[in-house]
Each structure stands twice: as C-alpha cells, then as structure tokens.
C-alpha cells in the first residue's frame, strides 16, 4: 500500500481515511495478536527446548538442536518434496479447471443462480467426509471405481505411492476447484464488456480476446486465487491422513508435525517442525507478493 502511494502526494483526505482505516482495523489486529501471535511465539519457545510430555522431568534447553534434527533428516526433505509436488499439481489443475468453470458461470445465460450454487457444493463438504467418500470409492472391497471399464478389478489404489497420490490429487481438486472458480469469477466480473466489444469490432478471435484482454486484466485476481490456494495446499493434512495416514511415502509436512506432536508428544521436535512449516508458508506468501507482484488491494480506489 505504501509503495504504491508516494508520500509527497498524500492529501489530507487520504491521511484521515487511512487513520479511520487503522481505527476500524484495530479490534481485529488486537484479536489476531492474541489468538495467533501468542501461540506462534510459544511454538518458537518450545522449539528451542527438549520438551516431551511423557518425560516431564527431563525438560531442558536445546538451542537449535531440534532444527538441526529436522533439517538433517531425510524424512523432512521427502515430505517437503511430497508436499510441494501435491501443491503444484493440485493448484495447476485447479487453476485451469477453475478458470473454465468461472468462464461458464460468467457467461451462463439461464439458471445463473443454480449453476453458481451447484458448483459450490463440493467446497461446502467437510474435507474429512469428502476424503472418506473418495477413499471408499477407490477401495477394492467397497468402491465402484475398479468396476469401471479399463480399470483392473484388482487395482489396489492405496498400495502404491503414485496411485495414492493420484487419488489424493483428485479428491483435493474436486474439493477446492469451486473456491478457485469463485475467486476467478470475482475478477472476471470486474472486466468492462466494452473492451470485448471493441476487440470484436477490431476482428479479434475468441482466443485473442481471452489472452489479450481477460488474462492481463485478471492478473491480480489470478494471483490472489493462486496465493490463497497455494498456502492452503501446502498445509494439506485431512485427505492424506484419512486415505493413507502418510504410508508409502505420501506423507506431507503437516502429517510429519502431527506425528511428532500428537503421537510422540515430543513438543520440542514437533514445534520445530511447525515453525519450519510456518516459515515455508511465509516464504511462499513473500514470493507471491514480492516476486509476482500480487497486489492484494488492486482495484480499490486510490490504492
């Protein structure tokens, strides 16, 4: 916000508006500090200690040794690879599908409300429930998938790493594409129809109109949608937990953190994993905002 508004030109009206904005934000900022800053700070403190609930008498200061343990473990890097792989594939598929759905929703002539509502249904289903539904569909004993043509009846989807990944990706894409579509639709409606008319008069094809008008004008909306989904996808937990519990090297970093914190009650090591996940998320957000120039407030008057 600061970068886009040179201080010299700040009028008194802008200044008073900004003051009002801060006052309106203040309650939310205080609440955020209480409910997020405190746990984060506590996690950082724990990550610097040896704390294990099962061994209450053996707590001690550990320095950075928990971080060294995590970062030198091949498990952490395998899980980072899995997480990034899932994140990139799901978000890429979702972007393409989401864009197609957004265009359909935007251009729908009749039943607009029905189309928009029905597309949102998967997003409204609880992730755990959706994960179970997909798991049952693909399980050899209970599922219908193995009865489909071209698929072997004996196919054990959760018996191999990449077939498991395939099901996890399908479930994730099915579940969150509507969210992506909705964010893209919001960007789509801001584009002035006159631009398309002018282009049509100049003889631009549908593809040209899409690549020359829609995409450039939607860049902010696309980047915001990608940012949200990428951050979300990096923390993937429920679907994997239900389907494989991380077996067969399908584990994500969140499941790794869960194993240390909840299964082993090793709060020191688990907090170190959590803090590292937080740093990864922070890094992703930073790359999006600085690297791609995602302006979260674009389109706002005076922004």
């Amino acid at each position: 916000m600061e970068a886009s508004t040179p201080p010299a030109k700040t009028s008194s009206r802008t200044r008073s508006e900004r003051k009002l904005a801060w006052m309106l934000c203040a309650p939310a900022v205080v609440a955020m500090l209480l409910v997020t800053a405190y746990p984060i700070a506590y996690a950082v403190v724990l990550s610097l200690q040896n704390v294990d609930l099962r061994f209450p008498d053996e707590n001690s200061f550990a320095g950075l040794s928990n971080y060294v343990t995590v970062l030198t473990s091949s498990l952490w890097w395998t899980d980072i690879f899995n997480t990034v792989f899932l994140m990139v594939t799901t978000v890429a598929i979702e972007l393409v599908l989401g864009m197609a759905i957004a265009l359909v929703m935007h251009r729908a002539i009749f039943g607009r409300g029905v189309v928009r509502t029905s597309v949102l249904i998967p997003y409204g289903i609880i992730t755990v429930v959706a994960a179970f539904a997909w798991q049952f569909a693909f399980a050899p004993e209970t599922g219908f998938v193995n009865n489909l043509p071209l698929i072997s009846d004996e196919m054990d989807w959760f018996g191999g790493r990449f077939s498991s990944f395939a099901v996890i990706i399908m479930a994730e894409v099915w579940k969150t594409t509507p969210f992506m579509a909705l964010l893209l639709l919001a960007g789509l409606v801001t584009i002035d129809d006159q631009l398309y008319e002018a282009a049509r008069v100049d003889g631009a094809s549908a593809w040209q109109r899409f690549t020359r008008i829609t995409l450039p004008l939607m860049k902010p909306a696309i980047l915001v949608a990608l940012l949200f989904r990428t951050l979300d996808a990096f923390r993937v937990f429920d679907t994997i937990f239900i389907m494989t519990r991380g077996a067969l090297e399908t584990e994500s970093v969140s499941i790794l953190g869960y194993n240390q914190l909840i299964s082993r009650l090793n709060l020191g090591l688990g907090s170190a994993v959590s803090v590292l996940i937080f740093l990864c998320v922070f890094l992703i957000a930073f790359v999006f905002v600085r690297g791609f120039g995602a302006k979260l407030d674009e389109g706002r008057p005076g922004g």
């Binding site: 294990d52 609930l53 099962r54 061994f55 209450p56 343990t69 995590v70 473990s73 498990l75 952490w76 399980a139 050899p140 004993e141 004996e154 054990d156 959760f158 018996g159 494989t244 519990r245 991380g246 077996a247 067969l248 790794l256 194993n259 240390q260 909840i262 299964s263 082993r264 009650l265 090793n266 090591l269 994993v273």
Partner: protein, 424 residues
Amino acid sequence: MKTGGTIRALICLAAAALTATGLVACGGSSDESGPRELTFFVAIQPGGTIEEVSKRCSEESEGKYTITPEFLPTDASQQREQLVRRLGAEDSSIDIVGMDVIWTGEFANAGWVEPWTGALKNQVTEKVFPNVIETASFEKKLYAAPFNTNTQLLWYRKDLVKKPPKTWDEMIEVAEGLKEAGSIQVQANRYEGYMVFVNALIESAGTEILSGPEEVDLEQGPTEKALQVIGKLANGGAAPPSLSTSDEDTARLGFEAGESAFMTNYTFAYGSAQEEAPDIGKVMGFARFPRVDASKPSKPPLGGFNLAVSSYSENKDVAFEAAACLANDTSQKTAVELDGLPPSRSDLYTDKAVTEAYPGFAGLVKESIEASGPRPTTPAYQDVTLAVQRALHPPDKIDPEDTESIYDELKSNVEDAVKREGLL
C-alpha cells in the same frame, strides 16, 4: 455431562429456594452425603459391556459412587490421542482410564496414572495371567487392573485345508498351492496392527524388540528369520491384493468373502463369520498362531485393556474401588458374554460364559494367551512402534532372499527411537 451438571445445579437452586432451610441433598463430587460421580473414559464396545458393568458396579456400591462411561473411538491411536490431550492438560474430569496394554509405560512415566498397592492390588491380580499383569506394570509397579485381554489365532478353511499348518513357511507353501482362496489375511497397513504382527513374528522367532525400556535386543539371526516370513508372504502368491493396507476388518471381510484359506486375527472373527457368512463360518477351523522357527513354540499377539486411576482425579480413593469392581470376575464374564472379549483371569476359561463364546476353542485361547509375546513396555512406545512401522512398511519392500539391509535399518531405527532421537 456438562448439561447434566448445569440442570442438576438449577434444580438444586430451585429446590433450595423452595425449602426455606436449603437442606436438599444435591449430588456432586464434593458432596460427602450423596454418591460420588466417577467418569470412566474407555473405548466403546458394541455389545454394551461398558454400560452394563458401569451400571452394575454403581448399584453394588450402594450409593458410594456412580460410574458414567465416556466413550472413545474404536481406533486405538485415536483413543490414545483423546486421552493424552486431556491427561497432558491435567484434566480432572477423568477418574478411570481404560488403558490399552501398550500405553502403560508412557502413562506411568508421565505421572498420569496412579500405582495400585495393598489389598486391592492383590485382589485385581488374583488368578490373572502373568504376562497380562506384565502389560499393566511398569518398573515393578502395577498401574492398572487387568480387564479383558485378547490374542490372535490362526483361522483356516477346513474344507480347503485338511490340517492346520505348524509354521508360516508351511502355510505360505500350502496357500500358494491352492487353486482357489490361496491367500493369507494378516494386518499390514501402516498402523499399530502391523506392529502387532511384526512383534509376534519376532517374538516367535526367539528374540524380542526390546529387552528393557531402553535396551534394544533384536538378535540378528531370529529377527532376519521373522523378516523373511513377511517378505515371503508379501512378495509371493499368498499375498492378498491389498496387503499393504489391510487391517483386522479387511482381513475378516476377505476371509468371509471366501477369498482366503488362512487368516490371523482376534477372537471376534469367529462370531463375525458365524453371523455374516454362515457358509464360511461352518467350515472355519482354528489353531494356534503358526511358528516362525519350526523348533520353537510360537508367541501369539497379546492385546486388551487394563483399568487405571487418573492422577488428576478428585476421587482417587473410590475410583480404585470402582475400577476393581469394573475389572472383577463378574465384569469379565459380562465382557465375554456381550462382546466376546477374552477374560484376563485364567480361572474363568472353564466357565460357561467363556466356553459358550468360544465353542471348542476356549482352551486354545487360554493356551495362546499364556504363550503370548507382549509388545515392548517402554515410555517411548509410540516412538518404537513408529520406527518399526516406518522401517518395514510396505511389507513387500522386504526381500526374503536378502534381509540384512532391512534388518540394519530396523535396528538403527529402533535404537534411535528408544533414545527418542530423530524425526519419525
């Protein structure tokens, strides 16, 4: 619980307002005149054992206490998760804990459960199988009253196999030679059930995972022999299609569907097959868990629940009495009648309740429990089981011809785990 308390408090208030003296007896944990309320956190049993024994013990206490069960999920890791969260936060709303045999070391070392002493200790261990008492003990102290135990038998199809195989090698060979139903159902998903399977094979081979809370044993020769069995089963023709994701229930389903001639599973499998698949149930034979080493008797898996008193309970004195009642011989008979759970008291195996639940194999269940090889007792149990599961899953990664490298991986994983080092 909470709403009940609020309503009771409101009724109390109203009653106190009505009677000018305010001398209305209102039950509450701090009130000495009424029965004390005990909360019993335990895994749900579909047959209704827990409700039944809680009710009976509350009545038998003659107004001393009332026991309210709070049910935990059926999955063992989820049960533990809910309990450790509460106990870790020193929650006083838990009085009695239904504790899986593998949690004793962890809960005791963390100071979450109270040791048993004196007359009650003698009472709850009377006639109980020694290795079951072992699962309720940590560092020579008893931390829980043994309730039900459990063991796995070998279930086989009498119509396909004349006599049950003695060893795993023999069983795999027979299964591979069958024209139909030539598979063996076990539990090999990456979860606690796989640890149960692996531990039973290692124990049967003549060694053990840990010899003390922090001492790794895993003698190389016998351990590799046990690993060869897993590798041979997983990589051969006797492996069911979804071996690497199998659990007790998929094993039972596969057996009941007639896909498998053999299955290792808990005693519930018999009753289930009689009800769900009577054709298979009729030809269902039983035998002891097969041997790994032909010259050594097998050591079958051991499961079950023991009842402990929480250190954060405000009613410890009566909680001990209540837990002793919940675990006594009458309660154990209820458990076998309603849910088919094997008693931990060895003298009950000639009782009608047991012989009716296990027609023809009550003696075999008893023999199997007596010979069983329990999983290691250590406060770092979760680390050990995660390490074993990580090293050996999926089962088909074990090459039966060359088990040395996987043995090394297993041993170093477990060595790190008992020291609670490294990520798991």
